[in-house]
Each structure stands twice: as structure tokens, then as C-alpha cells.
């Protein structure tokens, strides 16, 4: 074997073609002490891409709260965050984007997003128990949007269903800002016994390193670099950068992985996502402070004649890198043979920090592991940011210039049928939500998804949320609202918020106005996560979500999707959102506000788009959530449902529909009726209370100084507002259930 690196020296032009900047090319030359060859340059181009290095976001991500009493693995330490949930169990969970692939090839793009996030969880030894997703698409009137929705939903379904983990929750939102660039964020949640996790590390000189799972093909080459570019009309040419998923292989890989960990023969393991073999070998080596000799010609490939850099960069799915204790190879190979999966030794751990990649006898790349990775030699940039003009403009919004519609019933019907509010059953009926027999929300709906932890008294409460319209209106407040709403949904379901994962979808970070949105969102998230004691355990950043056509660039709404993990220590205290009994009183906890800013009502009925975020007060929100916890614990409420998109009216309608129980309410006199019914001011929760509990209930609220008002009662089959007949619940239910499927079928 030669110790001289083969291949010609590259130029700065080639570096730029691979997405590197001239100063980055110079830095690589300095690190190596020579000009890199094409393979080495390719390695740096993917490892230093935004997607792998977080170079434009990491300095701000570090300001997020990471510490919590139950954290076993903090942000950035492992493939996913790990939270101690008691009973000797830990929960691994993470959310990740697959936006750019989904924009070009929605079916495979979304499917491999599901595959990737689940691998992040089970590579740690945790068995996934639940999946969620957060999807954003453009205007539903466009054929392209319908194509994207159908493809993404089928992709998520086909992959997740075959993989066999229930999809228990999610959100779907439509706005024309996502016309070209949809957002596809997938979350996976897994359980593992404390102490049985595996780390993504490589150590022990002489230990063999195996590639397991699928063979390596030419799919997804330069995918990470592709995800770090703007989506343009040229992007269709990047199609080979989209990977192809095989959920059957993933299912086998899951079972084999869990089984192989039990042998105790595994030193470390990491899945292959972005940048494939390059990323897993370098990250594991850097973490374990060792080097590695890798023989690329030993990698099982799908076709003959693959070049060294193709093998290195391939993002073929359903593969893992496993470092094994020397002498225990047979135990590992037996497990993979049982599951009919590849298991081939391709590398060996070495002393030092060099990663040496060989093709046959030729040394094709020789790079220090540390220089490639986040927290090591990867670049870190501080970006400029400036407040965009629209922000000051939005503050000029004056509610008094908007007239209250004469026919509020028509507004109510419009909202119930609006794709952003109507039932998403066309979507979720295509997902297996019940496999695993843990989904406690199927027959008992609540604000957060409740997932049974079998053989314990506990359950998980899970939620993904982000109203990106609010974040666009005011990044700091909007992102704090996203965190608060997740917490509120978990609390309204009887749970205790525990920890957060985030998926930060933004435009181009080199645009100072986009970066201003990013910084604002991080500040808002920090503030809210500190308040709710929910540390951020990890997640991902997806920049470059925007459309460039000609010389015009439009970023998507800043969309920092929050995935929150909550815990129900005693699942018998879970709470549901549906009205239970005729005659129960309906109360609003929190205050009605004269506020319609950024509401779906203002946006889609009045078409007024540039307005501030809705009313929000973090301390007030926190206090109200604490009150709700107490009310649930004391069993003083029959149903609990928070006010969010569509306002109080939609909240009450959603409580009314499951059992087709009507309600009669009166509007508060000093509040505009449109704001009262359809405004989206935060910190409001609607509850129903048994007549016999009403005295105790009001005494408790007065005692705790929580603002509240009595709205009316559960009554009949119809809806009465100030005595006016708003129609039958069944009428609304029909519209609410079918409006999305009528558009998409």
C-alpha cells in the first residue's frame, strides 16, 4: 500500500463548483499542508456544507438552554437527545427536515426523511415507538401543490407503515410562501433501557469496523451539498442527489441493530445519513479521538465500477457503521446473517487522528478526522442580520380599521372548511397510527398525542407545532408561542412538558433579513424553553428554503418547528378534549382579548397579511398552564382544549364534534365579537365542568387568581352564540371532515 495520496491537485474553481468558498479552499490547503485531490475536496465539501457543519447557525444554537434534570445526552452529544423518564427507561427523540429532496421528488424525499430520523433514534439502541411529522405546502389551488401533498403523504405512509411504527401526530399548513419549497419535518421517538444505549464513537486500536445494511449505490451523491443550496429551476438537474428508500431493509436493520447491541460486542455505531461513509467515519473517529483506515473497495455496491468519491459520498439509505470489539466479529456477523443483511468489514481503528481511505492499494484520501467535524475544524461563521422593513410596517396594524363582518356565521363556516383548520384525516388515514398498540389517542382525542408505555403506569405526551405565520410576524414572539403551544397541548392532555427537539427551517442565511428572523426565533425559543424547563436536546437546521427565479428571491416563512416530549407519570390522569355531558358548563381560562392579529380569520377572510403576532405573555401563559395542571389533577374538569388556529369558536367546535354535543355561549360584551370568536390571542384554554363541580372549580380559580369567564354550556346538537342559531354540529362536522379530501381526491 502506498502512503502517497493519489490523484491530481484541485483548483479553487473546482472547490466552488462543489459549493465551497474560496476562503474555505485555502483553509483546507492549510490543514493538509498541500492542495487536496478531488476525493478530499469532495469530503470537505460535504462535511463543511451547512447541512453537516451547521457553520452559519452553531454560534446561535449554542445559546439554547441544554440543561435539565433528566438529560442523559445533551444536544450535539449523540444522534438524538436522551431523556430519563424513570422506571429505568430513557426516551430518545429528534426531528429532522427533508425539505429539498421533497421539493423535487416528494415521494422518495419524504420517505427517506422518515427513514433517516428513525435511524437516528435506533442507532442509539432505542426502539422507535412513535412518529410525528410537520408538513407545509403552498397554495392548494395549484396542481403542483396537490402533486407535492399526494407524493409526500404517500411517501411518509409507505415508509412508516412498512417500517411499522405508528404515526401519532402532526400538523399540515398551507401558505403560498411554500409554493416551490415545501417543508417536510419528521420526528421519531424511541424508548431504551437506561445503560443499554450505544454511542456514536470509534475507539480501540485494531478494532474492526463494519458496514451493515443495504448495498451502496449512486443515489444521493452530494445530497448534503444539495441541501445547502437555494432551490432553483436548475434543481431538477440535481435529481440523482435524492435518495431512494427501502422500508423493508430499514425494518430488518432495526431488528438486527437492537439485537446486535444485546451481544455487547459493539463499541460504537452510527447510521449513515447525509454524506454517508464520509460523515459516519469522520464523526465517530473524531468523537473517539482515533483514526481509521478504510478500504472503500470492500464496500458492497449496487453496481460495478463506482469511483472512490462516489462510494464515500453516497447517501444510499438503510446503512450503518459499526465498530466492534476485536475478536467478537462472529457474534455480530451472526445477527446480520439471521436478518439477511450485509455485514462487511471495511475499516480498522488506528491510533492518531488520520482518516485514510484506500481503493485497493491506492491511498485516495488522507485527512484528519477532527478537521472535518462540527466542534472541530469545520468553519464557524457569524452572520450579519438586519431588521426587515416589513416588521416595522406590521406594527402599524390597527384593528379599528377592520370592520366586524355582519354575518359571523359565514366566517365560522369559512374557517371550519379552511384547509389550515379542517380535519387532516385525508392525510392521517394514510398513516398507520395504531400499529404497536400504544396510541391512546385513537379513541380518546386530546391536544397532544398520548403514547402508552406498556407495563408501566406512564405514557408519553407528544406534540409538534409551529405557527410560522406568527414567527414571520415576529420571530421572537412567534417562536416563543410555538414552544408555549406545545407545552400547553401537553398540559391540556394531563402531561408534564419535559424536553424539546427543533427543526429550524429558514431561508438563505447570507440574507441578513433572513438571519434576523433566525436570531429572533432562537431568542424566543430560549426564553420559552427556560420558562417551561424544557431543554433543547437537538434537532436540525435547514437553511436555503426559498425560491429563486430570475433575480427575485422569496424566503419561506421562518419555520422553527418545535417537537416536544411530555410525560404522564400516571396515565389514568390523562385528559381529553371532547365535551362529555349535556348540561356541563363551559369556561374560558385566561382572558378574551380584542385581538385578531395574524389570525387565520384576518388572513384568509379579510386578506390582511402583514400584522403583528397575536397577543402573548409568557408569564401569564405559564401561570395558566399551571392552573390547568391543578384542575386536571383535582378532577374538576371534564374536557380541556386550548385556543389556537381559528380561535375560540373552532376550539369549542372541536370539543363538540367527537360526541356531536352542541353548545350555547354568550360573547363578552366589551370585546369585539369577531375577536372573541376568531381571534388567536394566546394563553386561553376552554374547559367543560360538571354542574356539581362548578362551585369548587370557581373557588379554586378565584383562589389562584386565574382570570376566567363562564361562556355557556354544553347543550343540544346545535350551536348557539348569543342566542343566534349558528347551525348544527353535524353540519360543521361534515364540512370539517371532508373539505380537504374534496380538494385532494
Amino acid at each position: 500500500m502506498s502512503d502517497l495520496v493519489k490523484g491530481e491537485a484541485t483548483t479553487v474553481e473546482t472547490a466552488e463548483k462543489l459549493g465551497l468558498r474560496p476562503e474555505e479552499f485555502r483553509k483546507i490547503t492549510e490543514i493538509l499542508g498541500r492542495t487536496p485531490n478531488f476525493t478530499e475536496l469532495s469530503i470537505y465539501s460535504v462535511m463543511w456544507s451547512e447541512h453537516c457543519s451547521y457553520k452559519n447557525s452553531i454560534s446561535w444554537l449554542k445559546t439554547l438552554p441544554k440543561d435539565g434534570p433528566h438529560m442523559l445526552a445533551k444536544a450535539g452529544e449523540e444522534n438524538a437527545g436522551l431523556v430519563d423518564i424513570g422506571d429505568g427507561l430513557a426516551c430518545a427523540f429528534k426531528i429532522e427536515s427533508h425539505n429539498h429532496p421533497s421539493a423535487l421528488e416528494p415521494y422518495q424525499g419524504a420517505a427517506t426523511g422518515v427513514g433517516g430520523i428513525n435511524r437516528d433514534v435506533f442507532t442509539m439502541g432505542a426502539r422507535p415507538v412513535a412518529q410525528l411529522n410537520s408538513l407545509r405546502f403552498g397554495d392548494l389551488k395549484l396542481d403542483r401543490t396537490k402533486w407535492l401533498v399526494r407524493g409526500v403523504v404517500k411517501g411518509i405512509g409507505d415508509y412508516g407503515n412498512a417500517f411499522g411504527i405508528p404515526t401519532v401526530g402532526g400538523e399540515v399548513f398551507f401558505d403560498e410562501c411554500y409554493n416551490v419549497n415545501p417543508l417536510v419535518n419528521a420526528m421519531s421517538v424511541g424508548l431504551v433501557r437506561v445503560g443499554e444505549t450505544v454511542s456514536a464513537t470509534s475507539e480501540g486500536v485494531g478494532n474492526p469496523v463494519f458496514i451493515v445494511g443495504s448495498s451502496t449505490g449512486k443515489d444521493g451523491i452530494h445530497g448534503a451539498a444539495f441541501a445547502s443550496k437555494d432551490i432553483t429551476e436548475e434543481s431538477a438537474k440535481d435529481l440523482p442527489a435524492v435518495q431512494v428508500g427501502d422500508p423493508f431493509q430499514e425494518k430488518l436493520l432495526l431488528e438486527a441493530t437492537i439485537e446486535v447491541i444485546k451481544t455487547g460486542a459493539v463499541v460504537g455505531m452510527q447510521d449513515m445519513g447525509a454524506a454517508g461513509i464520509t460523515c459516519s467515519t469522520s464523526e465517530m473517529s473524531a468523537k473517539g479521538k482515533h483514526g481509521m483506515n478504510v478500504w472503500l473497495d470492500k464496500v458492497p455496491t449496487r453496481q460495478a465500477g463506482m469511483k472512490d468519491w462516489e462510494i464515500l459520498l453516497s447517501e444510499s439509505q438503510e446503512r450503518m457503521l459499526v465498530v466492534v470489539h476485536k475478536g467478537r466479529e462472529q457474534e455480530v456477523m451472526r445477527v446480520f446473517e439471521k436478518w439477511d443483511l450485509n455485514c462487511v468489514q471495511i475499516a480498522e481503528v488506528t491510533a492518531g487522528d488520520r482518516l485514510k481511505y484506500y481503493m485497493g492499494n491506492d491511498l485516495v484520501a488522507d485527512v484528519p478526522a477532527e478537521s472535518l467535524v462540527l466542534g472541530g475544524g469545520a468553519p464557524v461563521y457569524k452572520r450579519e442580520f438586519t431588521e426587515p422593513a416589513y416588521f416595522a410596517e406590521s406594527k402599524k396594524f390597527d384593528i379599528n380599521k377592520v370592520s366586524v363582518p355582519a354575518d359571523l356565521k359565514a366566517v365560522a363556516k369559512h374557517l371550519a372548511a379552511h384547509p389550515n383548520i379542517a380535519s387532516k384525516r385525508w392525510v392521517y388515514n394514510q398513516y398507520d397510527s395504531m400499529v404497536g398498540t400504544v396510541n391512546m389517542s385513537t379513541n380518546a382525542p386530546s391536544d397532544a398525542a398520548i403514547v402508552n408505555i406498556k407495563d408501566t403506569s406512564k405514557a408519553l405526551a407528544l406534540k409538534v407545532d409551529c405557527n410560522s405565520r406568527y414567527v414571520n410576524a415576529d420571530p421572537e414572539t412567534g417562536c416563543a408561542i410555538a414552544v408555549s403551544e406545545c407545552a400547553r397541548n401537553i398540559v391540556c392532555s394531563g402531561g408534564e412538558p419535559s424536553a424539546v427537539t427543533n427543526c429550524l427551517n429558514f431561508g438563505n442565511p447570507y440574507n441578513p433579513e433572513v438571519y434576523w428572523q433566525f436570531v429572533g426565533a432562537i431568542k424566543g425559543m430560549s426564553k420559552a424553553c427556560l420558562k417551561f424547563s424544557t431543554p433543547v436536546t437537538g434537532g436540525n437546521v435547514s437553511f436555503y428554503n426559498q425560491t429563486s427565479s430570475g433575480d427575485k428571491t422569496e424566503p419561506v416563512f421562518p419555520t422553527p418547528t418545535i417537537g416536544m416530549l411530555g410525560l404522564l407519570k400516571d396515565k389514568s390522569t390523562r385528559m381529553t378534549l371532547d365535551f362529555k355531558n349535556e348540561g356541563d358548563s363551559i369556561f374560558l381560562i385566561g382572558k378574551s382579548r380584542n385581538d385578531i392579529a395574524s389570525s387565520e380569520y384576518l388572513y384568509s377572510w379579510h386578506k390582511i397579511k402583514n400584522t403583528p403576532a397575536p397577543y402573548f405573555d409568557l408569564d401569564e401563559e405559564y401561570a395558566i398552564q399551571n392552573t390547568i395542571k391543578q384542575l386536571i389533577r383535582q378532577k374538576l374538569v371534564q374536557s380541556v382544549h386550548d385556543c389556537s388556529d381559528g380561535g375560540l369558536f373552532i376550539t369549542l367546535l372541536e370539543s363538540a364534534m367527537p360526541r356531536q354535543l352542541g353548545f350555547s355561549i354568550s360573547c363578552t360584551k366589551d370585546i369585539r365579537r369577531d375577536a372573541f370568536l376568531f381571534g388567536e390571542a394566546q394563553g386561553r384554554i376552554a374547559v367543560s365542568v360538571k354542574k356539581s363541580d362548578e362551585e369548587k372549580f370557581t373557588a379554586f380559580l378565584l383562589d389562584s387568581k386565574t382570570p376566567f369567564e363562564r361562556l355557556g354550556e354544553v347543550k343540544g346538537k346545535g350551536i348557539l352564540v348569543d342566542g343566534e342559531d349558528f347551525g348544527a354540529v353535524s353540519e360543521y362536522k361534515n364540512v370539517y371532515d371532508t373539505s380537504l379530501e374534496l380538494i385532494l381526491q
Binding site: 407503515n161 412498512a162 417500517f163 411499522g164 423493508f248 400499529v435 398498540t437 385513537t442 396515565k571
Partner: protein
């Protein structure tokens, strides 16, 4: 009674079935690996749901050639009890162990939701103990659950009492609207002529744990247990 749940590569409802049989019905259960040739003396074999072999080619088409299926077929031929749910039903159809075939849902989409089914008579192990007038709420989750059989076969299985369940509305009416996948005559489950091999698309094991607020599926397990032990 000793149950054996077969695990094919890609099975994903195997552990749900085992949980219900072992923890809720309190029965002895063993896992049977698809590469084995030993039924370990089980009294009752279950083929669980999932995507055996990725359901590539056609649902159940590859699994029926799994090594263990030889023993399962011999066991059934001798009158042994075999119950296939969802993918298990698809495998039974592919193996010719129950009549008919399962086509793509008419909407050509995967559907997961609660549906209602009604037992057709009390003449089989699985339906005998089920309330005959009640619409049972049981979930489905499949892309290929559209039951089909030719006219002659239909006539025969109807006459022989081989139709176990039909899809119905929540009041027990068997209507076109309550048919979720286009199944001929709303058929949700059938058995063989010997009435020892049973297949159904809905998942009773997903409606048996009180934590999930629906235990209608338990009627089926109770039925088969009381029939076999009595």
C-alpha cells in the same frame, strides 16, 4: 393453550399479537421464526400483520414460500388452527389456505382507521362467542384489503358459512358506505371449508387493551379460547 406467532422478515404486528395473547388473554405464546421448520408443539398458529418481505411483488406472495409455511400448511391440513390477520390473511390467501384474494383498495390508498364489522353467524371458533347483533369497532390498516372471490366461490363460502365478518356501519347495517376498501359483499374475513383456518383484514389485537379505550377485539380472542378449551 399454546400459541405460536410466526415472525416473517417485515412482520410488524407480531409483538402486538403476542402482547394481547400473553398479557391480556394470559396464554402461553412462542415466537416462530420463518426460517425454522418446527412449530414447537403449538395448538394454535397465528400469522401476524405487517409487510412480510416488504410486500414486494404482491402482499403475502413471497412469505407463503417461507420455510416454516410448509409445516404450517401440514398443520392446517391435519385440522390444526391457523389465524391470519391483515398481512397474515394475505399470506393465507396466497397460499390457498383460505378462498379468495386480496386486491388493492378501490381508492388505491393505504387506509388506517376504525371500522365496524359484524359476525355473520356463530358457527366458527372465532365468531361463536362474539355478540351476533353488535357492530364491533375494529381498526383496519392496509393497502390491499379488497377481498375478491369469483361468483362460484362466493356462492360456496356463503352456503358453507365460511364468511366470518362483513363491514357494516356503527348500527350493524351492511351498506356500501361502510365498506372501506371495496371488498366484494363487504367481506372482512373468511375461513376455509374445514373451519380451522381463519383470515381477516381488521386487527382485533389493536382493540383488546383497555388502555386504548376500545376492547371490541377481545370478543374474538375470548371466543376462540372458550371454544377450544370447552
Amino acid at each position: 393453550m399454546k400459541f405460536g406467532v410466526v415472525i416473517f422478515p417485515g412482520s410488524n404486528c407480531d409483538q402486538d399479537m403476542i402482547y394481547v395473547l400473553r398479557k391480556i388473554m394470559e396464554q402461553e405464546v412462542v415466537e416462530l421464526w420463518h426460517k425454522d421448520h418446527n412449530l414447537q408443539g403449538c395448538d394454535f398458529i397465528v400469522l401476524p400483520g405487517g409487510f412480510s418481505y416488504g410486500d414486494y411483488l404482491r402482499s403475502g406472495a413471497i412469505a407463503r414460500f417461507s420455510p416454516i409455511m410448509k409445516e404450517v400448511m401440514e398443520f392446517a391440513d391435519k385440522g390444526g388452527y391457523v389465524f391470519g390477520v391483515c398481512n397474515g390473511f394475505q399470506i393465507l390467501c396466497e397460499a390457498g389456505m383460505v378462498p379468495g384474494a386480496l386486491l388493492h383498495n378501490t381508492e388505491r390508498k393505504f387506509i388506517c382507521k376504525n371500522v365496524h364489522i359484524k359476525a355473520q353467524h356463530a358457527g366458527t371458533l372465532i365468531t361463536a362467542g362474539v355478540p351476533q347483533d353488535k357492530a364491533l369497532k375494529i381498526p383496519i390498516a392496509h393497502g390491499e384489503g379488497n377481498y375478491f372471490a369469483d361468483a362460484e366461490t362466493l356462492k360456496k363460502i356463503n352456503a358453507n358459512g365460511q364468511v366470518l365478518f362483513r363491514y357494516c356501519d356503527e348500527n350493524g347495517n351492511i351498506t356500501p358506505e361502510s365498506n372501506p376498501n371495496g371488498a366484494i359483499e363487504n367481506i372482512a374475513g373468511v375461513c376455509n371449508a374445514g373451519k380451522n383456518v381463519f383470515g381477516m383484514m381488521p386487527h382485533p389485537e389493536r382493540a383488546a387493551d383497555p388502555n386504548l379505550s376500545n376492547t371490541d377485539g377481545k370478543f374474538l380472542f375470548q371466543s376462540l379460547l372458550s371454544m377450544v378449551t370447552s
